[in-house]
């Protein structure tokens, strides 16, 4: 210690510690990333001429937002929007109703192993398949229309809600549940009075969040023929009716904002 003089210590200026501590790993990551970026840049072909030509159209679209046209296609917009809302409501109700038993089954601390495996399997399948791919398959099977969209959204809700519900049940306080059990409650009473009150606030919050997601998703299901506002929007884009498209997008943004505001209020009340 005595060898190190004050001058030597002063000579070394302080440096911020690196985010990745291991120097070899850090440099591998940086070099690998740069190499990837160069490779990606070289393989993406961008037709700048086409982009330049399109800028006018892009500007026209931005301008369309200042004068959205709600009126001339109102009946199409309204029927599409109504279909989206109907699909959202029905799919959320059915999805939530199904995901509660599956969520119970997927919680390791209350379900026996075989049930747990089956329910976790359902959750994994539902989460791995995206809405739009499920919608394509269901449209092929059930035909065009909101039924395919309704089934898609219900299926997607199950994966999302069951997983989060199960995680919440697994993290619950055992003491309360045990107290109910000690009073001689049946299994259903145990769930109803010991488990349910603990997870209810989060379940309500998550359900409302999922309704929000379902509405957003229902806006694109129309692209593959599964009903909703997406079909109207797609037609508006195809016909270059940007003012109508802007009106639809503004409606979607407005409804999503309203839902988010509502979910904020509800979550603040139940928690």
């Amino acid at each position: 210690m005595s060898d190190v003089t004050l001058d030597q210590m002063l000579g070394k200026s302080w440096r911020k510690p690196a985010f990745v501590k291991n120097a070899a790993l850090r440099w591998t990551l940086i070099v690998g990333f740069v190499v990837y970026l160069i490779a990606a840049y070289l393989t993406i072909e961008v037709d700048w001429g086409r982009v330049y030509v399109g800028l006018d159209r892009g500007w026209a679209f931005v301008l369309a937002f200042t004068s959205p046209d709600f009126t001339s296609r109102w009946s199409d917009i309204w029927s599409g929007l109504l279909e989206s809302i109907v699909m959202t409501v029905a799919a959320s109700v059915v999805g939530i109703a199904i995901s509660i038993p599956i969520g119970l089954g997927a919680a390791r601390n209350i379900a026996p192993l075989p049930v747990y495996m089956i329910c976790r399997g359902i959750v994994a399948i539902s989460r791995a398949l995206q809405e739009i791919i499920v919608a394509i398959l269901l449209v092929a099977i059930f035909g065009f229309g909101p039924l395919a969209g309704f089934l898609t959204l219900s299926f997607a809700t199950i994966g999302f809600l069951s997983k989060l519900l199960a995680e919440d049940i697994e993290a619950m306080d055992r003491v309360q549940a045990e107290a109910i059990k000690a009073s001689g409650a049946r299994w259903t009473q145990w769930i109803n009075y010991g488990v349910q009150p603990q997870v209810m606030p989060r379940l309500v919050g998550l359900s409302i969040y999922r309704i929000d997601i379902n509405f957003r998703e229902s806006a694109i299901l129309g692209l593959v023929g599964a009903g909703g506002i997406g079909a109207t929007l797609n037609t508006a884009f195809d016909r270059y009716e940007y003012d109508t498209a802007a009106a639809i997008l503004l409606l979607i943004i407005g409804i999503v904002m309203a839902l988010e505001y509502l979910s904020g209020i509800v979550r603040a009340r139940v928690q």
């Binding site: 985010f19 993406i44 072909e45 800028l55 791995a128 398949l129 995206q130 929007l233 999503v256 904002m257």
Partner: protein, 271 residues
């Protein structure tokens, strides 16, 4: 305490009579809304197709199995494109999300009255529109191709990343910031040494999390013509080449599982 008097004995009840009546009414109203929604879906459904669905599903299954494995040689380039769309889109989004997040966070925004609402509006509007719709819009503006996909993913991700990031910024420990300020640091130095080190883990976590989601979303962007493996999927669907469709679905599933695994590993290492 709500009790039910039965003779002399008093039995504990969870809710008073008025409470349970209100609840029953709420349930009835909910059920009625659901029933109306269901009737509207049902009216737009061709039930003959639905009753025929099991046969159709079986038919598609026999056509789709076994997958056409040799087709995988043609999928290399689309998978590379998909990876590029997700990664470059996430990078662009992060570059744009950082300033938006700093403008939106209450403790770093230059003006809570004028700039913060604008930043929040950017966050909400980019977040509430799905990347497929952004892709649809950008294809009309800058033409089909990978570039439109990259931009669509980037725009969609800004809101998500900025929202999570500004929540992280609002939760930082103010004492560290104060300590840096007390040394006489400038505004930018406070940001670099007081704020950034605190949010860097959250930032890395958000980046990887969003990259994982973007891999999922970019696999289907091709359905509207924005490049990636979705182009192959929609081409195969259009010619009803079900063995190719099933192979592509398997590839997408594997990609999603790998990206989820990578993101879980990285986030586990950070936190």
């Amino acid at each position: 305490m709500p009790v039910l008097a039965r003779g002399d004995a008093q039995i504990w009840r969870r809710r008073t009579a008025r409470e349970s009546l209100t609840r029953a009414f709420g349930w009835l109203l909910g059920l009625a809304v659901f029933a109306v929604c269901w009737l509207m879906i049902s009216a737009k459904t061709t039930w003959f197709f639905v009753f025929d669905a099991p046969r159709i599903a079986g038919d598609i299954w026999t056509r789709a199995t076994p997958p056409r494995w040799e087709y995988i040689t043609q999928l290399g380039r689309p998978i590379w494109d998909t990876l590029n769309i997700a990664t470059l889109g996430t990078l662009i989004a992060l570059c744009l999300a950082v300033p938006v997040a700093f403008l939106a966070a209450r403790n770093t925004t230059p003006s809570a009255l004028f700039i913060r609402p604008v930043a929040l509006l950017i966050i909400v509007s980019t977040r509430s529109i799905n990347s497929l719709i952004w892709a649809l819009l950008l294809i009309a503006i800058i033409g089909p191709g990978v570039f439109a996909g990259v931009i669509a993913i980037a725009i969609r991700s800004i809101g998500f990343c900025a929202k999570l990031l500004y929540e992280a910024i609002e939760e930082i420990d103010q004492t560290q910031v104060e300590a840096i300020t007390a040394t006489g640091a400038s505004r930018w130095q406070v940001m670099a040494y007081g704020i950034v080190p605190q949010i860097l883990p959250a930032f890395a976590g958000i980046a990887v999390f969003r990259w994982d989601i973007n891999i999922r979303e970019s696999t289907v962007l091709g359905l509207v013509g924005a490049g990636g493996i979705g182009l192959q999927l929609s081409a195969s669907l259009n010619v009803l080449a079900w063995p190719q469709v099933s192979l592509i679905l398997i590839v997408i599933l594997v990609a999603v599982v790998i990206s989820e695994w990578v993101s879980a590993k990285v986030r586990g290492a950070i936190i």
